[in-house]
Amino acid sequence: MTAVTTARGASPRFDSSLSSSLDRLSLAVALRDEWLGHAFSTLPADRPAAEAAVTGLYRLAGAPPPRFVWIPSPAAAPPALQAGQPAFARPRLRAAEAPARRDGWPVPSRLASLQSALRTRLDRRIRRPAHLWRGQRPPWYHAAHTMAAEEGLHEGYALRDILWTAVHDPLAATLLDGPRPAIRTALLPSDGTEPLGLTFHGQHDAHWIGHYDILARTGLAGYPAADARQLALWAGLARSAGWWWPGDGVCVVAERPAEVHTEPLPGARHGERRLHHPDRPAVRWSDGAEVHALHGTAVPRWAVTDPTVARIHREPNVEVRRCAIERIGWDTYIEEAGLHLLAKAPDPGNAGSHLHLYHVPRRVWGTPGRVLLVVNGSVEPDGRRRRYGLSVPADIDDPVAAAGWSYGLSGPQYARLARRT
């Protein structure tokens, strides 16, 4: 196994004193958390570092150093790109019209191509668990996601497989399902027209950059010197700035947010986080741009500040709807929405409580459904029992069968529930 060591601080380097798999695993986990820290950093951008990295990437793409335009948030990108025209031409090239030589392409296309080629080469240097190439999810993969990384190693899983679940997957899950789509949806135009330029994600590219970086620094992959140097440029950007939009001769770069609020993903064993704040924007920039998110679901501001039944019924997105219903409470929602009670049954194992199954007509959510209203088995600190709604398949008519379904059991099986706490 070879590892690249270069004189550049940001380049991956392999500490040869690492011997045991456990040591490598601990280092990899620490580095993963460090990369998650970069992804959620709220420090002002390190402008000299970011500009040096972008300039280096332009050079690799065969373009002269650009002029830099710094903007306070991604929300400021559309006007900045419009003002910079024609530097930010549509990056999509039709095969029939594309210049044959790459140096005839627009800069964003060249950078995208540079990045894509780098990732293809690095992918050949890292050894992805074989079955994942075939799109399979063997039982251990499911298990490995539910146990701590060290536990997985003790269980006899290969370090390479453990690192895939402890480094690659959590970084990808945190970034690709988290800030990237939430920020794009909230702040960038979504009217179907092609946005100007091509967005690069800076700190929110930490998942792929961090993964390659960590494999090299733990001695599990070695890259050719030129690739290591290019990776260091992408890494430098991810450590120093927010999103950016390259153009011919000019590059627009956004500051990082001033505030980011996250919580661990439920059941997460590998540091996965998601955006969440119960009554403030989950992400806020210095210019007032903001993104609201509840338990990882990007929501419009009203869902956090002023959820009402009328707004919930106008909302086409089921996840947003569910978040908003939880804000006003299932009891209140069911009453105000006038949902029709289909059936009621004593909750097995939860003496004195009942299961209520409601019909949700198509006109309410756009698709017919059922909601099972259940009562917690234990009391809250205020002495009450929390009620919550579970969405269940529309073909279930029996409350006990619906409760059973939620645990993968039949109605008669669930009816044998002896106790609920």
């Binding site: 088995g377 809250e380 706490t421």
Partner: protein, 156 residues
């Protein structure tokens, strides 16, 4: 209950928190004896199902079992990252494996208890599991939008 059990017949939440170092919220009644259940029981978003009750759920022959230590095994954490469900037992009386084949893909693992084992949770308190072999599953709900199986897991 088997005769070789080392667990006292009447265990309270106070006993359990003292023995394991795990804590529960202050409003839960600590001095009441924790019931021990031999059948199906639920604790929030988890359910404990006797293995024999489940068709098609199997434990692979090569499954690695781990002894449940005095401090317990953390089964699942809650939505805010805290509030774990923990499995606790007297040392040497309970083993646990995450390797279980569940066609519904809801199983977190399987436990095999020779004496009473307990589930403890900061908000739900404690519950006793009679000796036997059980599968622990998590709860799901239907989701129209995302998810590999069109369903999502519940996290309380």
């Amino acid at each position: 209950m088997k005769t070789h059990t080392t667990t006292p017949a009447a265990v309270t939440l106070a006993d359990l928190t003292a023995r394991t170092g795990l804590d529960v919220l202050a409003h839960l009644e600590r001095e009441v004896t924790i019931p021990v259940v031999a059948g199906l029981q639920a604790q929030g978003d988890l359910i404990v199902v006797p293995l024999a009750l489940l068709d098609g759920v199997t434990v692979p022959r090569h499954a690695r079992w781990a002894a449940v230590p005095a401090g317990g095994v953390e089964l699942l954490r809650g939505a805010a990252g805290g509030n774990p469900h923990s499995l606790v037992a007297d040392p040497g009386t309970c083993r646990w494996s995450r390797r279980v084949n569940d066609p519904q893909r809801l199983a977190l693992g399987v436990l095999d208890a020779a004496a009473v084992a307990y589930l403890i949770h900061p908000e739900h308190g404690g519950t006793g599991i009679a000796p036997g072999t059980y599968v622990i599953r998590r709860q799901r709900e239907r989701s129209e939008s995302t998810g590999r199986f069109g369903n999502r897991f519940i996290a309380d």
